[in-house]
Amino acid sequence: MAIPPKLAPTAQEWHVTADASRGAAAPPELVQLLTPEGERVEHPDYDIDLKPEEVRSLYRDLVLVRRIDLEAVALQRQGELGIWASLLGQEAAQIGSGRALTDADMAFPTYREHGVAWCRDVDPVKLLGLFRGVNHGGWDPREHNFHLYTIVIGSQTLHAVGYAMGVQRDDAPSATIAYFGDGATSQGDVNESFIWASVFNAPIVFFCQNNQWAISEPLEKQTRIPLYRRASGFGFPGIRVDGNDVFACLAVTRQALKNAREGQGPTLIEAYTYRMGAHTTTDDPTRYRVASELEAWKLKDPIERVKSYLFKNELADQAFFDSVEAEAEQLGADLRRRCLAMPDPAPLDIFDHVYAEPHPLIDEERAQYAAYLEGFEQR
């Protein structure tokens, strides 16, 4: 095998820009079932037969999670949350993949998977706990088969593979899905998780939302070839899907999960999408990216295309759209109200749940601090 000939760049030219497709043009290998204009297209390997009510339901999901997200951003602006990581633009990737999961499947999110959380029936107000600073994770992962948000980039991918190895050992007919971003693909842990998954043929789907940015760093800082190809180096299939196309995300993830459940091992899905907002509410993307890029991606909005599709095919009328809108408003208002009503934790909660079994030092510190606080009250 020959080393592919390549023009030798000069020493000054070694800043490689490999994937210049970040802008408007869709890269060639992309699985797409619904165009930005709302046209259904065929794909030789993936197809999906969705009943009208299923499409409407997906549309509703997309609108509602966007509304949850918008409300959270607003809550942060008003000082009710310390920070918020917006999913704006990534709704289709999350709803498509999230709706592909069965109840028995297990999901491991990052900190941005509010749409997947929605699919896993996690009450949206519980997502706010971490960002409001009242807890580090507000739901019971076992109840929803949805793990807690993980902030340390990439570390959840290993937990997911370990979990999938457990599923294998239980001989259970379920799959595990691990979410992560484009930036995360550079972490040792993510690559180790690929190795584990492949060596043990674990029933797992790696779902990478390539939103083109890791805070201020464009994709080229993490890779010089399309991310889905990473999988080939580890011996399992990788596939790139239009991350703004909820049909395609659903179809591709469903197939990958099925393969996993049937013992065919891991798949890497790269959902090609875009982070429309700031990295988090504390970020200022104008420092590092150009407005035209955002404009190009606006034309690919994941919700608009489903709406067009429903309209054009007369699968929904204005009354439907209005009712979803009203539901979204209701959900937003409700979320806001319940956010403000969230009780603050009590000081002595600091000492809870550090250990599952009794721990004398924790008990001692709790008692001391309680006495200290009491001393204050008595003053």
Partner: protein, 326 residues
């Protein structure tokens, strides 16, 4: 009664735990056919199969990370880190995930993961094979940290660690692996909980506090001191986090003098915590400051020099002398 080496006692303890609970798994590098480089897992794969005794890819972060995932699924993984110096690639998974996830989940998640680490020097090994990294873990809230020092404890403590619903960092004194004792495996010493220390030699004039490989050294020192007419009490801490404070403080209040001994560098080592805590709680009982004997503030030296780096009987007794000199 059976005569078992420390490594065999661990092996038997794990075997017992695996028999008792089908959720117990062993995982690590070379733990299968080879039985681990110290043979601590010898024969377990043969008897329990490749699904329960898992030879993993060569990556420590992967070992701990997947063990966490297995624990989330209801398993109780016992991970082997091949040598002390190779725990650091797993530091992130241990410190940010294993230690913190239970609290992160408000108690919904329990992580009964045991991380076995053969530790310490004295075996003439090359770099990274003689480290004593316990202080990195005692400072990490959410972990239990224990160290066994003899076959009987090894047999019991590994089972207790596996049964614990908390993550446990389990240090094994590698230079004591081959030391033997007569053990009654039917009578497994469950009456001493995992988080309690032991007075392994009573004494009246000063207290030596140690754990893991240094317990034997301290016992030898105490024996030698006897000839000089000094009665030294020796405490085997067994648990570093939590610390058996009542046991330690009771001894110090009786003797008034303390020497803390470990192999790790003294600087910011676990002995600092012991010294600080003892002084806080026994200030008026101390006849001398708590003295610390341990490694120097240098990387572990090449093995030709390790006898100088490692605390030995003489350095312990020198510290005892200094304590009496105050």
């Amino acid at each position: 009664m059976t005569i078992l080496s420390l490594s065999k006692a661990l092996n038997e303890g794990m075997r017992k735990a695996m028999e008792d609970d089908p959720k117990v798994l062993i995982m690590g590098e070379d733990v299968g056919k080879l039985g681990g480089v110290f043979r601590v897992t010898d024969g377990l794969q043969k008897d329990f199969g490749e699904d329960r005794v898992i030879d993993t890819p060569l990556a420590e972060s992967g070992i701990i990370g997947t063990a966490i995932g297995l624990a989330l699924r209801g398993y109780r993984p016992v991970c082997e880190i091949q040598f002390d110096g190779f725990v650091f690639p797993a530091a992130d998974q241990i410190i940010t995930q294993l230690a913190k996830m239970p609290m992160r989940s408000l108690g919904a998640i329990k992580l009964p993961v045991v991380v076995r680490i053969p530790c310490g020097g004295g075996i003439g090994a090359v770099e990274h094979h003689s480290e004593s990294p316990e202080a990195y873990f005692t400072h990490t809230a959410g972990l239990r940290v224990v160290a066994c020092s003899n076959p009987a404890d090894a047999y019991t403590m590994i089972q207790q660690a596996i049964r614990s619903d908390d993550p446990v960092i389990f240090f094994e004194p590698k230079r004591r692996y081959w030391e033997k004792a007569d053990i009654d495996t039917a009578d497994t010493g469950w009456w001493t909980p995992l988080d309690k220390g032991k007075v392994v030699r009573p004494g009246t004039d000063a207290t030596l506090v140690a754990y893991g490989p240094m317990v034997k050294t301290c016992l030898e020192a105490a024996k030698a001191a006897e000839d000089d007419g000094r009665s030294l009490e020796v405490i085997d801490l067994r648990s570093l986090n939590p610390l058996d404070t009542p046991l330690v403080m009771d001894s110090v209040r009786r003797t008034g003098r303390v020497v803390v001994v470990h192999e790790a560098p003294v600087n910011s080592g676990f002995g600092a915590e012991l010294a600080a805590r003892i002084t806080e709680q026994c200030f008026y009982h101390l006849e001398a400051p708590v003295l610390r004997v341990g490694g120097f503030s240098t990387p572990y030296p090449p093995s030709k020099l390790e006898e100088h780096y490692l605390p030995d009987l003489d350095r312990v007794l020198d510290a005892v002398d200094r304590s009496f000199g105050f």
